[in-house]
């Protein structure tokens, strides 16, 4: 059995910040700009808040009738000629995909972006079995060439500068390391990917929405890469999480209005494609994946996270994510949504994530399907505290503080004792001063010579206060 280590987002985020003066400010500025565009797009729709509410209710309805909609989808998709596969977990998913590829003698696969396939660690699984896997999304391809997972749900390589990409392409494709013109770099990938589309024996996609009523599914991209991948090779395999069900096709009128506006501040993605059964002479396989979702559905405090449509708006608005970079979360899903999804896969490994947040609440307000993300982060902290996963310094100091704060006599004695001896305060009761990192980038506030309580006793105690 391998020993699971906790991820350390604090240390990784610090490295992201201190590496230079370029990456973190660029990352913050870009995502902040995206959030501003999102706010403008949302404000242009008077019924925006109503749309969020409707979307949330549709998802809640679907999740509380999931068995029904899954069977309806299977029935209708099968009628259209698609093959439906059911995967209980990541390894079943990978095995199913491999079997399909193997049966068709596929040696090379072109795939568009899919967080679910990331979650299942599908690419290394297939490559170990001799299948070449090529990402066709620009950002994902950059990340693949760099041997890194995506750092953002929608913008996989957003933590990289143009110069980083130019250097990476020079090393991996052999282009000019000094040419960081975006048009040039995009063209490099385009030319690099084109032959792969033609060579691939199969194309894989994810699925943004699976419509039960019609047995069809939708894939939304800006580059059209999913469409080529699904249209050129004879075999199309789509991996879809079971929570992606949408009851009726007309519901898409709600979700499509929310998705791209929330994700990138644009009215629509460039391509919003419906896949309705296999192409002529082609084959379509849909793998419906659970991988912990039905277990999550049974968690009273956390099942709402299954409403997520993977727009990434919570990441863009999150002030902590913007400064940390997505890779610092050490998990498939980063940012606020990652903080509440990742612990459902491994509570211990991801026990630090819920603390990598200020609980500012912006994620909950921006979420197009109204997931109570911020409240769930606090609830995960409670889970971690109950399990004994609180950082040691908090465990020790809260034990003392919890007692002292409950006993006013001891509190006031301690205040008096500490006051003169100490020239600084904030978490004087909670943290040993020598360990307190407050002063690394901040000056300390001065403790007042007289507390408010002392002032009050000197100035107001004769007022006949009810408590005196």
């Amino acid at each position: 059995m391998s020993i699971v280590k906790q991820v350390n987002p604090v240390a990784a985020a610090e490295l992201f910040i201190i590496q230079d003066q370029v990456h973190e400010p660029m990352h913050d500025r870009f995502l902040w700009g995206t959030t501003q565009r999102r706010n403008q797009q949302a404000a242009a729709i008077p019924e925006w808040e109503e749309l969020r509410e409707i979307a949330s209710r549709i998802k809640e309805h679907m999740l509380t009738h999931l068995d029904h909609y899954l069977e309806e989808f299977e029935h209708n998709a099968t009628k259209r000629g698609a093959h439906i596969h059911w995967a209980l977990d990541a390894s079943e998913h990978n095995q199913i995909v491999y079997s399909i590829l193997h049966d068709h003698g596929v040696k090379e696969l072109i795939k568009s972006k899919s967080m679910l396939q990331e979650e299942c660690q599908m690419t290394p699984f297939l490559e170990k079995r001799g299948i070449r896997v090529v990402e066709s999304d620009l950002g994902e391809r950059i990340q693949q060439l760099d041997g890194q997972p995506p750092s953002h749900i929608v913008f996989p390589a957003i933590h990289k500068t143009r110069q980083d990409v130019a250097k990476l392409f020079a090393d991996t494709i052999g282009t000019d390391p000094n040419n960081d013109d975006p048009h040039f770099l995009t063209e490099v990938v385009r030319n690099n990917a084109r032959p792969r589309f033609l060579a691939a024996g199969a194309g894989m996609t994810g699925g943004n929405f699976a419509i039960a009523e019609t047995g069809t599914f939708m894939v939304c991209t800006n580059e059209g890469n999913a469409d080529i991948g699904a249209s050129v090779p004879p075999l199309h395999i789509a991996s879809i999480g079971i929570e992606k069900m949408i009851p009726r096709v007309e519901d898409m009128g709600v979700f499509l209005r929310l998705l791209a506006r929330s994700a990138e501040g644009a009215p629509l993605t460039q391509y919003s494609s419906h896949f309705s059964g296999p192409r002529k002479n082609g084959e379509l396989h849909i793998v419906l994946v659970d991988n912990g979702r039905s277990r999550r559905l049974g968690m009273p405090e956390f099942w709402h996270s299954l409403k997520c449509i993977r727009c990434g708006a919570c990441m863009n608005t999150c002030p902590v994510y913007r400064r940390s970079g997505g890779l610092s979360y050490g998990a498939t899903y980063s940012g606020p949504i990652g903080v509440i999804l990742d612990p459902t896969f491994d509570e211990f490994k991801y026990s630090e994530l819920p603390f990598h947040s200020t609980l500012c609440g912006s994620c909950s307000e921006v979420c197009p399907v109204k997931i109570d993300i911020s409240d769930q982060i606090l609830k995960w902290r409670r889970v971690m505290a109950e399990k004994g996963y609180l950082p040691l310094v908090k465990k020790l100091s809260f034990g003392v503080a919890g007692h002292v704060f409950g006993h006013p006599e001891e509190y006031h004695t301690l205040q008096k004792a500490a006051g003169p001896a100490m020239d600084h305060a904030p978490y004087f009761l909670l943290y040993n001063n020598s360990l307190n990192p407050w002063t690394r980038d901040r000056e300390l506030p001065q403790v007042a010579k007289q507390t408010f309580r002392e002032w009050y006793l000197a100035n107001r105690s004769e007022d006949g206060n009810v408590q005196n």
């Binding site: 985020a13 603390f355 971690m384 107001r460």
Partner: protein
């Protein structure tokens, strides 16, 4: 005429109310002048204000970290201290949010429910309950940037969060606009978190400091001389960052401005 009668009787009701003054632990120790300003301000409106001497902390540092077990004693003490007051007013959004929103793990007795329902942050108390329309004693000849804390904006609703589509409002700005001489300056990121976040500011020091620095630069860039907030905890952090960075900014609580000191 009828309206006048109503106003008079409302004033009478308010004067008959027992108001509990909630002074959070860090204000007691580090910013007693904010406590003094809050008390004096409430007294200016003829209110009967009492300060329970056995108050300590609302339990937020523990509760916020998910450690409900160690927060319990502080939360119970808070309820015991304030259960006999009609209204409880505290000059700190995040502490008030702790009481109102997060005293949910303890048994919900009538006392607990009463305290949770009637604990107000100072700005919302002045704006929504007292409905103050003038601060004739106050004058502040400075350019002011407002910092409404996340707890106050998204937890208590004292301003419209920028993510929400709707008619903008800002209760802090509304009150400050009644102060003679005071000029409000807009900032680029008014409700982006400053990175204080309670224990976050020490456990996640690098990210916290970077967020605070961005705030301070935003304030300076727009010509603010003062940053005024209903939450001194955010300001404690911002002030520390700004001073270290050598930025010339002063940080005061909204109570100090509305009461004309003490500073």
């Amino acid at each position: 005429m009828a309206q006048e009668t109503q106003t008079t009787s409302r004033q009478e009701i308010l004067e008959g109310m027992k108001i509990g003054l909630f002074i959070p632990c860090y204000i007691d120790m580090v910013y007693p002048e904010v406590g003094v300003a809050t008390l004096q301000l409430l007294e200016r409106f003829g209110l009967n204000v009492g300060y329970p001497l056995t108050q300590t902390c609302c339990g937020q540092p523990m509760s916020n970290s998910g450690d409900e077990r160690n927060a319990e004693a502080a939360e119970q003490l808070f309820v015991d201290n304030f259960k006999d007051f009609d209204c409880i007013v505290g000059p700190a959004g995040s502490c008030v949010k702790q009481v109102r929103c997060h005293f949910d793990r303890m048994e919900q007795t009538d006392e607990v429910k009463h305290v949770r329902k009637h604990t107000y942050e100072l700005v919302e108390f002045l704006h929504d309950i007292l409905k103050v329309d003038a601060f004739p004693w106050a004058e502040f000849q400075h350019a002011v940037a407002i910092h409404n804390s996340c707890s106050s904006v998204r937890g208590l609703g004292i301003a419209k969060p920028s993510e929400i589509v709707g008619v903008p409002f800002d209760k802090t700005a509304n009150l400050l606009s009644k102060v003679k001489g005071l000029v409000l300056v807009p900032v680029d990121r008014p409700d982006d978190c400053c990175g204080f976040g309670g224990t976050f500011c020490v456990t996640d020091e690098a990210v916290s400091a970077r967020m605070g620095l961005e705030k301070a630069h935003d304030q300076v860039r727009h010509g603010a001389e003062y940053v005024v907030s209903p939450d001194m905890s955010c300001l404690m952090h911002q002030q520390g960052v700004a001073r270290r960075a050598g930025l010339d900014l002063k940080y005061v609580h909204v109570a100090q401005v509305l009461n004309a000191g003490p500073f």
